[in-house]
Symmetry: C2
Subunit: 207 residues, 2 copies
């Protein structure tokens, strides 16, 4: 697997497929020998191009480089409710090189609380704290009605990317990257598949 050359572009769909391959490779036993692309495709539930075998670790390293996750990304978590607590305990983030380095909320009763080793700070202090924290990403888990205002604070503070869980379509400048997770859309996709009825290739996860 050649690493992408400078100037070469992956599509978002290709990047998503690579993320799924990484999951398969992570689960591949170290002593199980080489993994074929056919086997990866099968494990991902998709028909892919069959080819030669790869060493799982080599392939994973090449994919991580292509995705830009061959490094650690530091992230803020903004909005400390049940979802934030679930995300803090979610082992997948750290395993993939994402580290939650600070928690912010605007609820006085939450500020100062210690959760999973981090102290909740005031959103009012966010802009001032960002340089010292060295975070480029923010995970936004505030209620829908606060999402626009908090996103604006994050943008003004210089954050590079926002993973938004609030069920709103945020507007941010083009220099800030935005991925929105709309949980109801996931359920709609499932309902749509059931309604469709006949079997189709297995789940390929969520791009």
């Amino acid at each position: 697997l050649a690493e992408p050359r400078a100037g070469e572009r992956l599509s978002r769909a290709a990047a998503h497929r690579l993320s799924l391959y990484l999951r398969v490779l992570a689960a591949w036993p170290a002593d199980a020998g080489k993994i074929s692309s056919g086997r990866i495709a099968e494990a991902c539930g998709n028909l892919g191009q069959r080819g030669l075998g790869y060493k799982a670790a080599d392939l994973a390293a090449a994919i991580r480089a292509a995705l830009g996750i061959d490094r650690t990304w530091r992230a803020l978590l903004v909005g400390v409710g049940n979802l934030a607590r679930a995300l803090l305990r979610y082992r997948g983030f750290r395993a993939q090189g994402f580290e939650i380095v600070a928690l912010f909320d605007n609820d006085e009763s939450k500020i100062g609380q210690n959760i999973e080793g981090l102290t909740v700070e005031s959103i009012a202090a966010l802009a001032e704290r960002l340089p010292a924290l060295g975070a480029e990403l923010a995970v936004l888990t505030v209620p829908a009605e606060s999402a626009h205002a908090v996103a604006e604070i994050l943008v003004d503070a210089g954050i590079k990317g926002i993973l938004n869980f609030a069920p709103v379509l945020l507007k941010v400048p083009t220099r800030v990257k935005l991925v929105t997770v709309d949980l109801a859309i996931q359920l709609e996709q499932l309902a749509f598949l059931i309604q469709l009825g006949d079997p189709e290739p297995r789940d390929e996860g969520v791009p």
Copy 2:
């Protein structure tokens, strides 16, 4: 907008796009008159085909029919942790016609607890309870290590679709539909977009 005829198929990508349109239509003021497809596309952050105006309510109804959500879907929530509590309070599900009708867990200390008006039941009772509950979907929020075993229970009980939040690639028979939400993949997509650098069309949500 013609309703899809029997035998006509939407792709999953098209279904996802329709889900996003629904979000825009839901936010459209009732007194704001007709909505143009160009305006919908703009609000979704994508360039779409420009055309004639639609009445927002008519368009939403046609889209809901195409997606199979012009009805209520009853769903089980299996695995009662922080994520489940967040999902129970997530207003988006009910707004889109999804109703969580029962909670299941295998932790004795949780069984019998009342959460948001529902009593946590034992997973051991799930198969027996399913017909009376009339649920077709299950939202799976158990830890990764329990996911395969619980999915098997759901499949054997006759569930039609599973929305899986556990960070594992589940195997289910083709008659059961599966959508997996891998939260680390969302962060990887964001990292990939930041690494990509130059501006591209705004976030179009998560297919």
